[in-house]
Symmetry: C2
Subunit: 252 residues, 2 copies
DNA sequence: ATGTTCAAATTATTATATCATTATATGAAA
DNA sequence: TTTCATATAATGATATAATAATTTGAACAT
């Protein structure tokens, strides 16, 4: 048994088996991160180093590192000069964890779409307020790209999705961006490649209008348009009739 | 080296070291979950069983289980009849992962508050639409509890926070609830125990008004009130002057 | 000097064996 | 029926060793 200098001030996490040595190490690193002792890129050390530091076996360190890695706190590299380092933010783990939780909790498509409305509505609103010139240029490029592939459903859907992402990115809010990415990953299977010609034209029209609002910094209009846009997508998702689809309400 | 019957159809996750045997096991379990082969509560087996099934060592299985556990996919119990089971949804893991990502990405308090507006605004809106009789009763109870401890800042803050949570819960949207819990965990350190008497009275008034809107199913009013409510909290958070605080703009 | 190749050092990955700890299940006694 | 002791089964942890992957750096050729 090793001396891991644990603080028992832990809270709100994993009630069971929280006092295992491996978890104590996880907690220490986690708290060191939150207390500002670590920054992305900082080296924690190799398994051997850490085993010596904590006075535990390498296996125990490994358990802790595996957990920290999955939490996105550290990155591990093999080879000389390798070892465990504090990670840069990596949203992939997070998105995946989100998808898993939604799956396990049995969250419905309806609930996810409501969530999407919350995120993208606010995203559009803040985009109108905070957009930079670079944001406008990127949005313009994406609009033109979508225009050029308007006859190719798959390509248009892809360009449309990137337009939505670019809108949220223009908000400058990384929390929103993270959520949007995560949600898109969850929603993605449902609404891929459904855009026929007339549908695409309608979507493109709405996107152009949205761009105009964002450029004019009309945040309320941008929000409202985005919400209506998503609401119509939802309507189609739930009725699912060919008529609705033909009405051009869906985009990407 | 074991035969793990891996499918190489993996995507969108952990680009580095994704082909380790341990990760292949993780992938298999994850995909089995998403393909509906597993349900919460299902037994995966003990470490020994799994080591035999996959024809790998116990250490490798352990690595995989540690990852799956951190992702919230499985729960592990010690002792006879224990082993690894598919988890019920556990949002604590997710909340923690979110907090970590925000920390690593350097997300500011401002960004988190904007996010909170998105979540709680939509939460209030949907609460007005979907609230059940039970929701109304719980909200009423919380209002009365807050009233009874209005002179105790810490208790009132606590009751107020639970009121906010109950509002989001009344939306019936588990995705929103998960986000709210996660955000609350991130924000929590900042705005605890600041409610003086006059501030508490103002907050209580707003909460009662919010309840009225939710009861009357006036979703737009509920959303607007919630957003204003949070906006004033934000204003205080950023100015931070004693005057603003005394203006009674902050609640919990 | 500069770029390339190759060997050595470093590190994680996997494996096997063993003991300790913990939780469940079983069964006997009250 | 409850309670308590015991057996059993599982993870937790340690030790040791072989293997694979990666980087470093030196030797080499250009």
């Amino acid at each position: 048994m090793g001396n891991t200098e644990l603080k028992k001030t832990n809270q709100s996490w994993s009630p069971v088996r929280a006092n295992s040595v491996a978890n104590q190490i996880v907690m220490q690193v986690r708290e060191a991160l939150f207390s500002g002792k670590f920054q992305p890129g900082d080296l924690l050390g190799s398994e051997k180093d850490l085993a010596a530091q904590f006075d535990v076996s390498r296996i125990t360190v490994r358990d802790a590192l595996r957990t920290l890695e999955t939490m996105g706190i550290i990155e591990i590299r093999v080879g000389a000069g390798g070892g465990a380092r504090i990670a840069e933010g990596n949203l992939d783990y997070f998105s995946d964890a989100l998808a898993v939780q939604f799956k396990l909790a049995g969250v419905t498509e309806r609930e996810i779409l409501d969530m999407q409305v919350a995120i993208e509505g606010t995203g559009a609103e803040l985009a109108a307020l905070n957009r930079s010139r670079e944001n406008l240029e990127e949005l313009t490029e994406l609009l033109e790209e979508a225009e050029s592939v308007i006859d190719s459903p798959a390509d248009f859907t892809d360009a449309g999705q990137r337009f939505h992402l670019a809108v949220v990115e223009a908000s400058g809010n990384r929390a929103l961006i993270a959520q949007f990415r995560a949600l898109r990953y969850v929603v993605w299977p449902q609404n891929a490649q459904r855009a026929k010609r007339e549908i695409a034209e309608n979507a493109q029209k709405i996107h152009r209008q949205l761009f105009a609002f964002i450029e004019a910094q009309d945040s309320e209009a941008a929000r409202k348009l985005m919400i209506d846009h998503l609401a119509s997508i939802r309507a189609v998702s739930f009725s699912g009739t060919a008529e609705d689809t033909a009405n051009g309400l869906i985009c990407c």
